[in-house]
Amino acid sequence: MFDAPGSSPDQAFGVGELTTLVKQALEGGFPPLWVKGEVSGFKRHTNGHWYFSLKDASGQLPCVVWARDTRRIPAPPDEGMAVFARGQLTVYPAQGKLQFMVDALEAEGEGLWKKAFDALKAKLDAEGLTDPARKRRLPCFPRTVAVITSLDGAARRDIEAVIRRRHPGVHLVLIGAVVQGEGAPASLVAALDRLARWGGADVAIIGRGGGSREDLWCFNDESVARAIAASPVPVISAVGHEIDVTIADLVADLRAATPSVAAEHAVPILAEVQEHLRRLGGRLADALEDRVVAERRSLTTQLERFTLRATRMVERRRARVQQVAGRLEALSPVATLSRGFTVARDAEGRTLATRSAFAVGATFDLLVQDGRVRARTESVHADAPHLPSRA
């Protein structure tokens, strides 16, 4: 019996029927697998799919990457690049063509990741978004620290622990985000947007704990980088471990090696702040005390100077008094009296120096060197008292 399909014109396959059978046979016989080769004839279709061939010395394999799968590949491959492609071997029935449907593509070494990283970095560099001059100083004493990360990740616990240890008074606000996988960039951008619109944080930490390069890739996303650069709140990036440098690190105000280090940068140690305050208080008190001591010293000096001046003035005056006293003594009637002269005075103590001062019969005093003599005027004469006739 010749009833097997395709065994006679009567049993001929339809073209579509056969290519579909081949497709099923191929897909059943080859599970998803990795193929290595060089990229040739890369084309990006307007609908977002990528087309190229993988070649080596003896063969060529037409490849397609559907648009939705290209999103997981950091960058399109270069012409001639040696790559590893994972995919499903199939037939494209409409063209009867062998086709490898690629869903993962890796270049040797850093390859595509580095290419994508470098391309985005160059773009952001050109716009000045990675310029160190753009980086803002973090507040020294934040009251509220926002943390954008996975709510159940290790990073969140690390940050919380470090902040509690350093400064139990700081307020921590978590903004949950997806930090790996396809939805991560959009989720991170949404969280940054919330941070900006909320406006309650003094500083923000964005990041996640360690992971594979693919896991961390959302922090190399352009939209995330732009959202960080646009943040009104200073941002500390903390992605993975020390060795993981991402685009987010380049645009953030500060790159911390790990989430724990980010927390250390974000918050001061309370005890140190208190110590600083104590020192400031001490400085104020010391300064005032110095000032008081200086004032007192200045007062003492002034007092001493004044005393010295006063003493000198008194001495000078005393010297002058003595000098005057000497002169007075020379003029003193006492000295004259001691030489035998007398002075006549009336009862009121007025010196009777001329004839007219004497009234006949009136009494007066004669001062002599050792006392007083009461006398009476007998008569008054115009002639000199020292006439020899009288002596």
Partner: protein, 69 residues
């Protein structure tokens, strides 16, 4: 005045007080201000409660903070 501004003012006061050419009256006034600022700063440090909260955005774009366990 933020904590940072308060501290900056304190530093400024301390530096001014270190100068000898400041009139005594001004020095005393600055000292008093410094003591008030110190008290303010210490109070601010003791005030914060240190909560851990989650930022929640309501339907109308209103933000709320929810206590975290």
């Amino acid at each position: 005045m933020s904590f940072e501004q308060t501290l900056a003012r304190l530093e400024q006061i301390a530096s001014s007080l270190d100068r000898d050419d400041l009139p005594l009256e001004e020095a005393l006034r600055l000292f008093e201000e410094g003591v008030a600022k110190l008290r303010e700063a210490n109070t601010a440090l003791g005030e914060a409660e240190g909560k851990v909260q989650r930022l929640i955005e309501g339907a109308s774009g209103v933000f709320a903070l929810e206590e975290e366990a």
